[in-house]
């Protein structure tokens, strides 16, 4: 059990960037953005393609982030300028990205076993592989967590957050909501793509199918985090989402340890999220019954 602890924590931190991206759209912008199902493997594909061509890991991660940001902008334009419902706009980009990802990689699967990754770079400083993953996970989560905390405290960030709560209000204050929505989707998908780039390097491959279920994993992390660690302030929310991602990885590791077939993982996650999302309803009916008595 103990030997599972460290890798699970590390994985949770690498996935936390993706969860923060989903938090941004789902909670801050109040949009269920399915683009992430395509931008996550996009980040992986871009990073893998660049790494196999000999680019250094930091460049690969940076370009992956930019690619993800562009994917977010596409969804944003489809939604705001072309007035396509957000859910459908995300699906359109996600499907289009499947082809894009195949083009980027040239094939469905790209191995990274023989190339230098950000992890082998850190390892060369004289630590174990498991420690390298933890270092990268911690560093990236802290870095992007702090960046997000700063950005969403600025005037622009506050305008984006207000957009999610009340578009009418922020327009009446002179902010173009098209711009704030596109910006939010841009940042979200950049984070998701960077997470994809890191996960691909940690797994040792990028695969065109690795995005399936990204949104559900993200939602599971967000909801678990919110329930366990609270939503008092924006800072509190960010920390909750990161911890939620870690807890989610522990839950997965635990049920696998207990003998659940890995093939059932996505079913398990979906049921978990469906249950968590319907909690308010259950709670209400239970409370209602209490009152009736």
């Amino acid at each position: 059990m103990l030997d599972l602890l460290l890798p699970t924590l590390s994985q949770g931190l690498l996935w936390a960037l993706m969860a923060l991206g989903v938090y941004l759209t789902y909670r801050v912008l109040d949009i269920a953005d399915l683009t992430v199902e395509g931008s996550f493997p996009l980040g992986a594909a871009v990073a893998a393609a660049l790494l196999t061509k000999g680019f250094d890991p930091l460049t690969a991660i940076l370009v992956a982030g930019i690619a993800g940001a562009l994917a977010g902008v596409v969804t944003g334009i489809l939604h705001t300028k072309l007035k396509i419902p957000a859910l459908l706009a995300g699906i359109l980009t996600m499907i289009a990205l499947y082809s894009v990802n195949l083009r980027v990689m040239g094939k469905a699967n790209l191995s990274l076993l023989r190339v230098d990754t950000v992890f082998s770079f850190i390892k060369s400083m004289g630590i174990s592989n498991a420690q390298a993953v933890l270092v990268v996970g911690l560093a990236s989560t802290v870095l992007f967590g702090l960046l997000m905390y700063w950005f969403f405290g600025t005037e622009i960030g506050a305008a984006i957050r207000a957009t999610g709560f009340n578009q009418q209000m922020i327009r009446a204050q002179g902010v173009d909501t098209n711009v704030t929505i596109i910006s939010g989707l841009l940042i979200s998908n950049a984070l998701v793509a960077i997470s994809g780039a890191l996960i691909a390097q940690s797994n040792g491959f990028a695969d065109v199918g690795m995005g399936v279920g990204t949104i559900v994993i993200g939602l599971a992390s967000v909801i678990i985090g919110e329930v366990l660690f609270g939503t008092r302030s924006f800072k509190n929310c960010l920390i909750s989402v990161v911890l939620g991602s870690v807890v989610y990885r522990f839950v997965i590791a635990l049920v696998l340890q207990m003998g659940m077939p890995p093939n059932d993982l996505k079913l398990f996650t979906s049921v978990l999220v469906a249950f968590a999302l319907s909690m308010p309803l259950f709670k209400k009916s239970i409370d209602g019954r209490k009152v009736a008595k």
């Binding site: 005037e155 622009i156 207000a162 009446a172």
Partner: protein, 264 residues
């Protein structure tokens, strides 16, 4: 200050639901005018206000504020000139953000947001003083999320936000209609206080004839997308509800069919 020139607006043109909401309507407001707007349901009061605010474009005509033609400007650009309070107390504030965050956003109404930190130290004291004047205890709750406030508190906060940087034009769209009578009276009192302190040019829609007569220096009554009655100064001061009803019947040729409006 505000010149509305021959604007028309038709909703769902060419369909069975066609509604001529505004018909060749003109309205001039002088600087410092406090105009109350009354009229039955479907008279075009809200359409007039939303046309000025830029919620939708008008079909024809021009809208000029302080010499600037804003007819073609989108809603968010017009925020530079206009402060607004809506009928729905939920509409004017961001529920999930703190009182001070809402005020910070409002303090930059119409300005491009930057990368500067949103909550500024030097604003805190000013916000606190202004909140204290509302006399709702909000000055001690600046870090509370707005969603925790009552409808009346939210409406008072929205009013404060709309007038934080004195707007060229203040639009109040039945902003007390959703409140209980006591709270409505309080918010109306605050409105009067703020409007007269800054001499704000104000357009206030109300369903309540008594309020329309009590407040402001000018009263307009709308019917079928047109301004039917427009009274100002002493003419308005001496007006009574029966006078107003008689004038309405004479001008429109039918009786006022709105109970809610008569109740005042």
């Amino acid at each position: 200050m505000l010149r509305v020139e021959n604007i028309s607006k038709t909703f769902h043109p060419g369909t069975i639901n066609e509604k001529k909401a505004l018909q060749d309507l003109s309205l001039h407001l002088n600087s410092g005018d406090f105009v109350t707007v009354i009229g039955g349901n479907g008279a075009g009061k809200s359409t007039l206000m939303n046309s000025i605010a830029g919620v939708f474009p008008v079909d024809k005509g021009r809208i000029i504020i302080d010499g600037d033609d804003i007819t073609k400007q989108p809603e968010h650009k017009r925020a530079k000139y206009i402060g607004r309070v809506f009928q729905d107390p939920m509409m004017g504030t961001a529920a999930g953000m703190m009182i001070e965050e809402n005020l910070a956003i409002a303090s930059r109404r119409g300005k491009m947001p930057t990368f500067a930190w949103s909550s500024k130290e030097e604003d805190q004291e000013r916000f606190k003083i202004l909140l204290k004047e509302l006399d709702l205890g909000l000055e001690d709750r600046m870090s509370d999320k707005v969603g925790l406030l009552s409808g009346g508190q939210r409406q008072a906060l929205t009013l404060l936000m709309a007038t934080l940087n004195q707007p060229k034009l203040l639009l109040l769209d039945e902003h007390t209609a959703a409140l209980d009578p006591k709270t409505a009276e309080k918010v109306l009192g605050l409105t009067q206080k703020i409007v007269s302190r800054y001499h704000l040019t104000t357009l206030m829609i109300t369903h309540n004839m008594r309020d329309a007569l009590r407040f402001g220096n000018r009263l307009i009554m709308m019917h079928n997308g047109r301004i039917l009655i427009d009274l100002a100064g002493r003419e308005k001061d001496n007006l009574t509800i029966p006078d107003l009803l008689a004038m309405f019947e004479k001008a429109s040729g039918n009786e006022l069919d709105n109970d809610r409006m008569l109740l005042g």
